[in-house]
Point group: C2
Chain length 338, copies 2
């Protein structure tokens, strides 16, 4: 697979992005990686011994983290993220990655690559790194959703999770809600529940409450982009908080430090399991071609992991997703068959 | 203050509720506590040496956790939670507590006690036990909100948090949103942002992202009841998950166990800080009289802490909240004064 990497997107770009891309190219010998961005900024970071399957593609500068995405892309059509998207549109690359301004990545994907047939709005699908990892979507692409959007997210998320988690059967899909019973929640949640329970394209397990998101009851959790974004960031914030409190509690005196040293490997194991950099990025589902959005503060390890995940999952993804949408929408609803 | 306690509400009622109420009565010598519920069920739990300021009030049975609240209350108007609410309505008690079916508690409060003037819908205000505790509302009373509801929650939450956290200045109020900039989020969030920033009754600090909910940037976080419920349960779920993973990581071998034993006091400190039972209950704001909703699985310690918190905060609360709503709504908007 050929992957275009926005070399200038992210708080730690270009250095950490380039370092991660070089490491990924080393690991993924059969893939080609293109570093996209102003070559004056990118080339100095690459070093002399770049792998053969890594090359540069000159473009403009980044879209800043604070910029309004649509107007920035209009003003600078050669921005690195836009050129990376164009490479996918033009078949020069099969997927693209950016750890830059999320709005700009979503806008570049929508404007340059376009949506899948049958999908009004895209979703950001992200893995919550809990003891049972679960795919959450939408994590923020579409803050205001209709019930049909949530059904689409369920279909897209189910197909994607089956590939990503390498599940034997279909992925179990839950709806984030305020109670387990079908009649619970907002009008959006109630109607989405009905659509998901009637769709043959979704292995629906019903409503899932916030407290059960990491319990393994579902492989995929569907919600609107407002709720999903808040859930994702809350989970990350609480995890960081608790690990921070524990760190303080363990570094009190000499004996505590000694005991903490003994437990260090186990504790690092826990910290690493809940580390977002394990996954390194979120997939934008609903556009014609795999697009991965890295954390804004992605380090080299996060970029590397994201590109490895993309290589493993991305080939044929858009076609599989579009096929699933077409199949689900074409199938008669249960009520029609009786 | 006289407090009516629904002795039959909660997974562990009546035993744990009665035990907690007895302990609270012992601590709160100047308050009177009424245990409300079928005396055949309640009396055996009280024991011979009940404190003088604790008495029984006979009523019907509980509303079950799985029951539809409104119809249960219609069918059994003498349900313990309904009678507890009536005691507030009739001036026999100044506040009531229930750890039973949340919907039934909210419905009993709305139907028997009624709303504050100027408040269309109530909110459940709950303390998120993070390193900087923060009051979150609405945690689930009103799953579909209008912008004006969120403004009311901001006013109510600000007044309540100032009392509850004993803040010198006014409580700083933030709006849960998907980004920090004012233009971010759903239409609801955008319009609520405008109303809150224009209201003289709110010390508004702007949007707060999920990752910052425990960072101390705000004393109060306002959101709709759908998002708030999911945030609260996600935070609880993630905290429990991580503590569970740590527990497993620390109980591997003999040396790990020894080291964990040394660190035990510090770790218990962390676990206790994030334990919801510290607060023991959530306040239902927007009704004419303090109402506290305990966790469904409240143990005696949670009930005791909830009643102590209620005694400390409840006197004159409804009047203070109604006054704040009237003041905020009567005051001219900023634009009118220029």
């Amino acid at each position: 697979m050929r992957i275009a990497v926005d070399a200038l997107g992210g708080d730690k770009a270009p250095r950490e992005v380039v370092t991660g891309a070089v490491a990924a190219a080393d690991r993924l010998g059969h893939d080609e990686i293109f570093l996209v961005g102003d070559k004056e900024l990118v080339r100095p970071e690459v070093g002399a011994s770049a792998p053969q399957n890594l090359s540069l593609r000159d473009a403009g500068g980044p879209v800043g983290m604070g910029e309004e995405a649509a107007s920035a892309l209009r003003a600078r059509p050669d921005a690195s993220v836009a050129v990376a998207a164009e490479m996918v549109r033009d078949g020069e690359a099969g997927a693209f990655f950016s750890a830059g301004n999320t709005g700009a990545t979503v806008a570049a994907a929508l404007l340059r690559i376009g949506r899948l047939e049958g999908c009004r709005r895209p979703a950001i699908a992200t893995v919550l790194p809990l003891s049972s990892p679960v795919l959450l979507l939408d994590a923020g692409a579409t803050v205001m959703c209709r019930p049909q959007d949530l059904l689409n997210f369920a279909i897209l998320g189910g197909v994607f999770a089956q590939r990503y988690f390498d599940l034997g059967g279909g992925a179990r899909v839950g709806l984030v809600n305020v109670g387990e019973e079908p009649g619970k929640g907002s009008n959006l949640a109630k109607e989405a529940h009905r659509l998901m329970s009637e769709s043959p394209g979704v292995r629906f397990v019903g409503n899932v409450e916030g407290r059960d998101i990491g319990s393994g009851v579902a492989d995929v959790l569907v919600t609107d982009g407002f709720t999903g974004n808040v859930v994702l960031k809350t989970a990350e914030g609480v995890a960081r908080e608790i690990l921070g409190m524990l760190h303080s509690a363990m570094t009190g005196g000499a004996i505590s430090k000694l005991a903490a040293g003994i437990l260090r490997p186990g504790l690092i194991g826990v910290r690493d399991r809940v580390d977002p950099e394990n996954y390194g990025g979120s997939f934008l589902l609903g556009v014609r071609g795999p697009v991965v959005i890295g954390h804004g503060n992605s380090g080299a390890r996060g970029v590397e992991n994201a590109l490895v995940g993309l290589s493993r999952t991305g080939a044929g993804l858009a076609e599989a997703l579009e096929g699933a949408l077409a199949g689900a929408h074409a199938a008669p609803a249960r009520g029609d068959t009786s």
